[in-house]
Symmetry: C2
Subunit: 319 residues, 2 copies
Amino acid sequence: MISKNLIEKIFQQGKKSVSRAITLVESGNEKATLLLKELHKKTGKAYRIGITGPPGAGKSTLTNQLTKFYRSQNKTVGIIAVDPTSPFTGGALLGDRVRMSEIGIDPGVFIRSMATRGSLGGLSKKTIDAADVLDAAGYDYIIFETVGVGQSELDIANTADSTIVVLVPESGDSIQAMKAGLMEIADFFVLNKSDRPGSENAITALRTILMLRDHTEKSWLPNIIKSVASENIGIMEIAEEIDRHKSFLLENNLLREKREEHFRIRIKEIVETLMRNELWQKERMKDLNISLKKVVEGEESPYQIAENLFNDFKQHLKV
Amino acid sequence: MISKNLIEKIFQQGKKSVSRAITLVESGNEKATLLLKELHKKTGKAYRIGITGPPGAGKSTLTNQLTKFYRSQNKTVGIIAVDPTSPFTGGALLGDRVRMSEIGIDPGVFIRSMATRGSLGGLSKKTIDAADVLDAAGYDYIIFETVGVGQSELDIANTADSTIVVLVPESGDSIQAMKAGLMEIADFFVLNKSDRPGSENAITALRTILMLRDHTEKSWLPNIIKSVASENIGIMEIAEEIDRHKSFLLENNLLREKREEHFRIRIKEIVETLMRNELWQKERMKDLNISLKKVVEGEESPYQIAENLFNDFKQHLKV
């Protein structure tokens, strides 16, 4: 059971209760599921913004400035900073400390860092769960901020209503290869640190690449906004572009469609997690481990073992 | 049924048959499974090398040179180039054409490019299946070459006996953040283009980072090898380091352990694919899609719908 008191306090945007609820949600246990079921009916009002891009593009600074802008408009903001964990990155935590002293004390701002812990699927699930808590708590905007490496930016695009890809002039040549995944998910681009040399070239390159992009989502064309986040330049333009994209989605009845698609992905993931939990219980893992000897020695193929395990699963699952 | 003729010709390293078999394997259908079951008993002899690193590090050139070196030792080589697909990258295909004219006509070399098509899990599965075909065909070395972005390098490390991470002097500052994932999977590093300025600094930085790394795998310490692949400098040293790592694994009985672990991951993935196929059949997807309306409107929570779908799955299981 989830205490009514906790739920009431979440609905009242009590920071401590919101924080406790997210911690509960991160644990991923049954109580978390109960809480999320309770909160769901109050969700759907927050607008979800994803901010991603290569390391060093200034995503945190931009998130902070955008948050301050929204606060000046009397809007509340929940921030979920996704940190693809590694023993080698301490950056996110350091950034957090700076951030906390700047906007973290504002009662209308909630900040939470979440680590990926290697499992990308796991990340996205808990990130979205946390966003639901913030949504139910009544934050007007929820900003997901994540480094655009690997799967995480795709997860964010599958969650956000508007996805912003932040680049810098120096990203130039890497655009073609590495950030290709980022190109496809951007609702619009921000060229941050645009006071640096190479800025115009970067925009030309970006435009060229955008021309190759398929335009399926009716007639939306991703724009490119210049900013110097550290000097608060371009922040209002970014907020305006978010508004413009939101209006576009609403006018074409695409926001609802997009959210349905996001729920589709999310529900599938939840079902598959339930299934995996039931599948990889101790006894079956033991069976798997015993079979490995035969597989390494070429006696049994991985496909045969997999079929055996699956059949065993079905026999034990049947109700 | 798989024709005996095809299997015989694969065992004889017939390039056309190997190629046809990999195409079959890429389709992922039932016939592919049958073929892989047949081939498994002949696998296990090839040594599997993973080569990964950031875009532009010279992985293809290095792979080509290493291949030529092995050929000069009368060893045969199968290459699987993994291309994280995107409409924006044409690089891999272009590189392939150059490569084909250089080593592709050698009867002792087999080259295949495989795209990821968005699904990373899918990639790794088919990549490993293709490697099994090459292994059964008797290639002495199998080289997986992939850009170190996202999940793909982890997939490769979960497949290769030795994983090589290729960096360049300029990778310097990005080492800390983005390539953190690469640090953890490297059995050794190659600093390619080491005739460029900054090379010594890069090695110092790399050594510092390596000191932070946990040394669990008994006493193996990742080395750093300098190369200029385009001028064939350092290639023999790389081959020697691969040998040294292989000997280390064999002497400590770790090769078998590593391969068992790789089979464990692979079998789990196959089982989960079987499960997903059974789970997301048309009728259930229809149920899911119908429920989305209620979820978007806040009437039903995603967790409730997921539980309903899971229960329905259990009820309809055919054993």
